[in-house]
């Protein structure tokens, strides 16, 4: 290990000096942590292949966006993932109708309008990335959200009855503001998309919006894939 000792001598020759200078030490520490960070965070933005847009994927309409807000508010992402890995067993489970041809797993292009991403890190309940193709009945979702045990005996999901109460009716003007915010960071909403918010949201509860969001998940890519087949 002679060479290793020499390498260490050489290195500690510098560090011994830095340890006596607070500014130098802090500066070199900052450089050490920045190198990896910059290498990983910057290039993806300039590589066009990082997120190839998928032709058919459209931004969430006012009702679906309101539903996404509800999904975030309730922290659904703490138990449900939205990212299907390229394993046969995962594709079989989360694309039972084979709506996506051979490729039932998640692609970067599906998430281009997701601010923030909601892939989650724990799959306590099933994955929802392609939920529209797994359970397309709005009525089923309503029953499930009001009491999960009614549709799946033994489920440990919390019940969300208040989402459908009168007090949960959504304020359309707020959603229009949310759309304007998203427009500023690159979601291509048209003025028409925003002005149609009040009609889309009229009398809708948080629960209705959440269901609309769930039925949007995976729909655009499934339609594209079906039209190609």
């Amino acid at each position: 290990m002679n060479w290793f000792d020499k390498l260490l001598d050489w290195f500690s020759g510098f560090t011994d000096q830095w340890e006596k200078h607070g500014v130098k030490f802090t500066l070199y520490t900052t450089i050490a942590i920045l190198i990896g960070g910059l290498f990983e965070l910057v290039p993806p933005f300039f590589l066009t292949k990082t997120a190839e847009p998928i032709q058919n994927v459209k931004p969430y309409n006012a009702l679906e966006l309101a539903g996404r807000d509800v999904y975030q508010k309730e922290g659904c992402n703490n138990c449900h993932t939205q990212m299907i890995r390229p394993f046969k067993w995962e594709v079989d489970r989360f694309d039972p109708q084979h709506s996506y041809g051979k490729d039932g797993y998640s692609k970067a292009g599906e998430y281009v309008y997701d601010h923030p991403f909601l892939w989650g890190s724990k799959r306590t309940g099933p994955d929802l990335a392609h939920e529209s193709q797994i359970q397309s009945s709005a009525e089923w979702h309503k029953t499930h959200l009001i009491n999960p045990r009614d549709t799946a005996k033994g489920s440990i999901m919390p019940a969300y009855p208040w989402l459908f109460e009168e007090s949960s009716i959504i304020d359309a003007s707020k959603i229009a503001d949310h759309m304007r915010g998203l427009q500023k960071i690159g979601v291509p909403y048209t003025e028409e998309d925003i002005s149609s918010a009040p009609t889309l949201l009229a009398g809708k509860t948080a629960g209705d919006a959440l269901i609309a969001y769930l039925l949007k998940l995976g729909r655009d890519t499934a339609e594209l894939s079906k039209s190609l087949q």
Partner: protein, 479 residues
């Protein structure tokens, strides 16, 4: 003692220690509660106390309430001693303590209300993020002010680890939290989809690195040698493991995103650097262990030393398990399962928790100038905490590996063996119940500690006397 009180500001250390005890108790209570929610869904009380809203409360209170309080307490304590000067500004210290606790209280209110950004460990909405930036800047000015006015030329190893944490945390926090506010209570991340995922896990993994690892290594480098009155085993090992640890850690984030649509080169980089991290991590662990061997005959009787030993053991174990899980094939089985929850809690309950308890038991008698109320109670705390951790992680290992195996199990025809999700959930229930019980044991240890600390503080001022429990005395009490 009184001369040291004039020389150093210990009030701020006491303040952060007490915040640590309060937020530790709160976070672990919520943790046990949500553990049982995973078995008994009736424990979800809507709309404010459902799992989805309480889980971020648990993680935020544990990481930023409990762990960070202990980090600041020990940071203020060590920097004054290692620089041989009083903290630069008492006023800024108090402002830091006040604004910090204000932000945690606000977190504890807003998270159950469902106000969150949905980014793991970065859930707080933008006005709170700004408040955090303000008190962090206040703290940075004060800390570096102390370093620049120091009386001791050489910066000792413990301080390196604290400095690395202070410079990295704000960079991570600000970059990941950039968002567009759409109202006072709602914002959207400026990044989208796959970019957002990449930045989130660069942040998420390095929160583990620079909030839950480096400051605690700093604690180890100061309190372990101080407690056993022996120098650290190897200064050279400190140098090499410090620089390689902070350089390598920052690259490891993408191992959270294996098999995702993140570019392959980035996933592989994350995986390779995670495996390389095993070396500096174990370098730190070995330096601790080899230092400990210099006082091995004390371990039998000394609760603080036992906690340091078990803390280091769990550090070694989690930093072995981490690189293992970041190998693609292992991630294929473990990702998204209870195994990860077990892995994280091996690190947090074992390493962060035990090191924090050791620091608390070291500091409280000295700060309040009296002896610990009961050394025996501290030992009981140690044993039930250790038992609790083991019950927790073993049940999560079994649960996680069962979960991953059941997801992928196929019959002879190649179709899924367990297509019904609830069937898997039912299988995992007993393990999840044991997890809750393990967490409950750990929590009861914390309650004992708080009782012990409160009784110690009541005795304050009676004079701290160092006692070697090996010679005759049954308990470390003074007459």
């Amino acid at each position: 003692m009184s001369s040291s009180e004039q020389k150093y500001n210990d009030t701020i250390v006491k303040g952060f220690l007490i915040s640590g005890l309060v937020w530790g108790l709160a976070s672990m209570l919520v943790g046990v509660w949500i553990a049982f929610q995973m078995v008994y869904p009736e424990l979800n009380f809507g709309p404010y106390f459902t799992f989805g809203r309480l889980r971020p409360l648990h993680t935020n209170a544990a990481i930023f309430g409990f762990a960070l309080s202990i980090v600041f307490a020990t940071g203020y304590h060590t920097v004054q001693r290692l620089c041989r000067v009083r903290i630069w500004s008492d006023k800024l210290s108090n402002l830091h303590l006040f604004l910090y606790n204000l932000s945690i209280v606000a977190a504890a209110i807003t998270l159950p209300l469902g106000l969150n950004q949905s980014k793991e460990y970065a859930e707080l909405e933008w006005p709170l993020d700004l408040l955090i930036v303000v008190w962090f800047v206040v703290f940075l000015i004060n800390y570096f002010g102390t370093i620049f006015t120091r009386q001791e030329k050489q910066l000792y190893a413990a301080i390196w680890f604290y400095i690395a944490s202070w410079v990295t945390i704000p960079i991570l926090f600000i970059v990941n939290n950039l968002s567009i506010p759409v109202s006072w209570i709602k914002s959207y991340s400026v990044y989208s989809g796959v970019y957002d995922a990449n930045i989130q896990w660069w942040y998420g993994h390095n929160a583990v690195a620079f909030v839950l690892t480096t400051p605690f290594l700093g604690m180890m480098y100061y309190y372990l040698p101080k407690h056993i009155k022996q120098p650290i085993y190897s200064h050279r090992l400190s140098i090499i493991h410090f620089w390689s640890l902070i350089f390598l850690y920052i690259w490891a984030g993408p191992h959270h995103l294996l098999y995702s649509p993140l570019p392959d080169w980035l996933q592989t980089t994350g995986m390779v650097f995670s495996i390389m991290l095993w070396m500096p991590s174990w370098g730190g662990m070995l330096n601790g262990f080899l230092t400990l061997t210099q006082a091995k005959e004390k371990i039998k009787t000394d609760a603080t030393l036992k906690m340091l030993l078990v803390g280091l053991t769990f550090y070694g174990m989690s930093t072995f398990e981490g690189p293992l899980l970041s190998i693609r094939a292992v991630s294929g089985l473990g990702h998204n399962t209870d195994w990860i929850i077990g892995h994280v809690h091996g690190g947090t309950l074992g390493w962060v928790g035990m090191m924090s308890f050791a620091a608390i038991y070291y500091l409280v008698p000295r700060l309040w100038d009296t002896n610990l109320f009961s050394e025996r109670l501290a030992n009981v705390h140690f044993w039930i905490a250790t038992l609790g951790i083991l019950l927790y992680i073993v049940s999560m290992w079994v649960s996680g590996i069962s979960e991953g195996s059941m997801w992928r199990a196929v019959d002879e025809t190649g179709s899924l063996k367990f297509p019904n999700w609830v069937q898997i959930t039912e299988t995992l229930k007993p393990y999840r119940l044991f997890r809750g019980i393990g967490g409950g044991l750990y929590l009861s240890g914390v309650v004992l500690m708080i009782y012990n600390v409160v009784r110690t503080i009541i005795n304050s001022g009676s004079g701290y006397k160092e006692i070697d429990p090996r010679i005759g005395l049954k308990e470390g009490k003074t007459a």
